[in-house]
């Protein structure tokens, strides 16, 4: 599936819920299924700056695809990063760089997060894209 197709799926899933408590419940479930980062990569270098709870992200190439793993000490944050990883992991770095992130606005995630968490979300997206830029350079 392309990044766009996955994002459309996520938007569809979120539109099925009536209220934000249900969406949070869903995010918590997603958080529990997050592909966890190997403990050796839970270093300060892999911490995303700008998040109030701790978020670690690791990226590595599998062939021409970039694979993300992550973890957080807060479960809702894990849910947020799980959504992002679902959209961007196992994709070509160039596709990740080119992908837009409108689905975040479409599911209304940003306005339903506290300002600090919304900032954290922006930092997470930025970090995933930075990894893609770094690995694309390597592939070239």
């Amino acid at each position: 599936m392309t990044i766009q197709e996955i994002q459309n799926d996520i938007v569809d899933e979120f539109s099925m819920f009536d209220d934000w408590m249900q969406r949070y419940e869903y995010m918590i479930e997603l958080g529990k299924s997050l592909p966890l980062i190997d403990d050796q990569y839970k270093t300060d270098d892999n911490l995303i700056k700008g998040c109030q709870s701790k978020v670690w992200v690791h990226a590595e190439l599998d062939g021409d695809r970039l694979v993300f793993t992550a973890d957080s000490d807060a479960i809702i944050t894990k849910g947020i990063i799980a959504i992002l990883i679902r959209a961007f992991s196992n994709q070509k770095p160039q596709d990740i760089i080119d992908a837009d992130t409108d689905f975040i606005d479409e599911i209304g995630l940003k306005e339903h997060l506290s300002p600090t968490r919304a900032n954290g979300l922006v930092s997470m997206i930025k970090q995933l894209k930075l990894y893609a830029v770094a690995y694309q350079t390597q592939l070239n």
Binding site: Y24, D73, A74, I76, S114, R117
Partner: protein, 413 residues
């Protein structure tokens, strides 16, 4: 549901709540349950009216105009100063310095003490200080070469006073402590702290930010050297507060900022400073805020601090008991003397997650380290959920909190 009669106090909270327009609003489709009073309190209509009246009728700069509006604004501002003087039982109104808040007051004193300290002197802070009562003293120590010593605390969140007495010696020049801990709610034994410090001729600054909404301190009886508060934690507006200093200290301390209002005479060769309190009030102050601060004190005194303290104590006891029925819930700060703050965590759940879900239920609490990271390090936790109460909170709101925390727990674990 719980029996309303559990709160025995004849405190008419329903009538009081009508004074606070914000309490009628909804958040995320739920009635607002505001339990972040330790961060800032809400403002009653009586205080809002004073703010509006100021801008409607007599907004003008003070202490320098010959015209009627300026005179009216000056009078109202000075009446507010007298209200503060009376409320805190301060000997002279010129010992009341208007500030922008507690942090400003602390920095004014910390900066002023730079010239009084030398290498090898010691300053003491408590282990449960807000960052605003740690960082200015660290900066002072860096400037002067003085040593920062810390009064340790026990697991209940009480200062270990034997250790404090051991820290005091002839090199101790200053002691800083909060009256009430913002993160734990502990009421510190400031009488003992002040008396012991004075035996070695050290000056004492008490940060009253968290106490002032719950306790009416008698500053002359305490014999404290400095005491500082913020209006916004006691039904007043943000951006205004007061620093009390004993006359002898205020005369010794150099001005904090230069500017208008704080001078007597200015030539390019020399400036002589104005008398107290204006020496420390450079520039146009928060005039409206100062006047509203006075109105906030009127409002709280009208209800009565004894009644407030008694009601809040019952509410906190009730909330503590109810919260402790939740499996895996741990309260941080179990001092014998505490007020209106319950800091807690649930085993296996991050405080941010609990706070996020409570917000969706319309319940406002604080999560995080509460600007008191050393306390969180002491308990080895990333932060807590903090519910803090005011006299306008109700037993029903406590029930909503408990129900909300239970729901969050079920979702998160």
């Amino acid at each position: 549901m719980t029996d309303r009669s559990i709160l025995t106090n004849k405190f008419d909270v329903d009538t009081i709540r009508k004074d606070f327009p914000i309490l009628n609003r909804e958040v995320n489709g739920q009635p607002l349950v505001y339990l972040d009073n330790a961060a800032t309190s809400q403002t009653p209509q009586q205080v809002i009216d004073v703010i509006v009246d100021y801008y409607h009728r007599y907004n003008a700069n003070i202490h320098r105009g010959v015209h009627t509006l300026s005179q009216e604004a000056t009078d109202a501002y000075e009446v507010a100063r007298q209200k503060i003087q009376k409320h805190f039982n301060i000997a002279h109104s010129y010992e009341v310095i208007f500030t922008s808040g507690t942090t400003h007051g602390i920095n004014l004193v910390a900066t002023g003490f730079t010239s009084f300290l030398k290498n090898g002197d010691e300053v003491i802070v408590s282990a449960m200080e807000h960052h605003s009562n740690i960082v200015p003293w660290q900066m002072l120590c860096e400037r002067t070469g003085a040593q920062l010593k810390v009064i340790p605390m026990n697991l209940d969140g009480e200062l270990i006073m034997e250790e404090y007495h051991k820290l005091l010696n002839e090199r101790t020049k200053l002691v800083f402590c909060n009256h009430v801990s913002n993160a734990l709610g502990t009421i510190n034994p400031i009488e003992e702290i002040i008396d012991a410090a004075h035996k070695v001729d050290a000056a004492v600054l008490i940060d009253g930010a968290q106490a002032a909404a719950h306790i009416k301190p008698d500053l002359q009886a305490l014999d404290v050297d400095f005491y500082t508060v913020s209006a916004h934690k006691m039904c007043g507006p943000t951006g205004v507060g007061m620093l009390y200093g004993k006359e002898k200290w205020l005369n010794k301390l150099p001005p904090y900022q230069g500017g208008g209002e704080m001078i007597a005479e200015v030539t390019f060769e020399k400036t002589t400073y104005a008398d107290l309190p204006h020496k420390f009030e450079a520039g146009t102050p928060n005039i409206c805020g100062g006047i509203a601060f006075g109105a906030a004190l009127d409002y709280m005194n009208h209800i009565g601090f004894e009644a407030i303290a008694q009601y809040e104590e019952e509410l906190m006891q009730y909330a503590t008991k109810q919260l402790l029925t939740i499996e895996g819930l741990r309260i941080y700060g179990t001092a014998k003397h505490k007020t209106s703050v319950i800091s807690f965590n649930i085993d296996g759940a991050h405080p941010y997650d609990i706070g996020t879900i409570l917000d969706k239920l319309g319940i406002a609490v604080r999560t995080g380290h509460h600007c008191a990271q050393p306390i969180m390090d002491f308990y080895k936790i990333p932060g807590t959920v903090r519910a803090s109460f005011s006299f306008y909170n109700t037993q029903e709101e406590v029930d909503a909190l408990v129900k909300g925390v239970k729901r969050a727990r079920n979702m998160l674990l």
